[in-house]
């Protein structure tokens, strides 16, 4: 399988990945370890919360998006990691039983000034449930190696 390099990421729609089914057990397990707020663990408390029902941790949703991006393309990309996330918006709750899809767009792709053998690809990821409701939006740059023959020029 060919490895994707910087040259493979052009501004515009890149791909749609998933669906990823999320179980109640996964939601509870993640919340118990990383985000044990009652709205993520307890049905009654969740009903009384602003989210009106049991919802997954936002960090769980981010981690699931990471995994969907990994399975979708990062696993075969010459990725060197990410410096961060410009913006992340949690727009609707993650619910038990949701089937998630991730739409990935390349917002910007530029050659790194400090490391000219790499480029910085800024992705926008949008996660939706099966009903098409947007659960979260993320804008994040990833450092990707350039093709050796191109970078050497």
């Amino acid at each position: 399988m060919t490895t994707l390099t910087f040259e493979d990421f052009k501004p515009g729609h890149f791909g749609t990945f998933g669906p990823r089914h999320v179980t109640r057990e996964e939601i509870l397990a993640f919340a118990a370890e990383y985000d044990p707020q009652p709205m993520h663990l307890d049905e009654e408390a969740a009903k009384a919360s602003m989210l009106k029902g049991l919802s997954g941790s936002g960090w769980h949703l981010c981690s699931l998006l990471m995994r969907m991006m990994f399975d979708g393309f990062i696993s075969r990309t010459a990725s060197m990691g990410s410096p961060g996330v410009n913006e992340l918006r949690w727009l609707a709750p993650l619910r038990p039983g949701d089937d998630l899809t991730a739409d990935i767009e390349v917002e910007e792709a530029r050659i790194s000034r400090s490391r000219p053998d790499t480029g910085i690809v800024t992705f926008k990821g949008v996660v939706r449930n099966a009903a098409g409701v947007t659960l979260c939006e993320m804008v994040s740059p990833i450092i990707v190696r350039r093709r050796t023959d191109v970078a050497a020029e």
Binding site: E33, Y34, D35, P36, Q37, P38, M39, A45, S49, M50, L51, S55, S57, G58, W59, H60, C62, S63, L64, M66, R67, F70, I74, S75, S79, M80, G81, S82, P83, G84, V85, N86, E87, L88, R89, W90, L91, P93, C136, I143
Partner: protein
Amino acid sequence: MRFFEDMEIGVRREVGSFTFTAEQIKKFAAQFDPQAFHLDEEAGRKSLFGGLAASGWHVGSVCMKLMVADGQRMSKEAAARGEEIPVWGPSPGFRELRWIKPVLAGDTISFSGVIESKRTSEKRPEWGILQSRMTGINQRGEQVYSLLATAFVPRRNAGS
């Protein structure tokens, strides 16, 4: 947890520290971020990180874990004083998350937060909206993590 009115802008609060073991790093990575430099020592050493590095999402999730634990400690203290305990609302998101330096196996990260701004919600007057800058520092005093978090915090006597 504290009420919106009790939160002071500019005051730093230590929320706790966490040591990332190789085992925990690999377990999180296997589930959510199985890039080689998060799963394998040798691949980590050869990467930009220079060692087995925790997934950035692992670092963010641990920061959340410590924030929740800190909030629960505050709630217990409030309960011991016989005060009303606020229940925090959800977060609409965050900005400016920076994975500044790698978190390597064996590193201990201490997290703290400073409230940068607070305002009342126009749509939900019983809630306040708080922006807090979270920072993670390793055992060498180097900043490794930073995040500008937003959260809904209940106002005192909102029901009256």
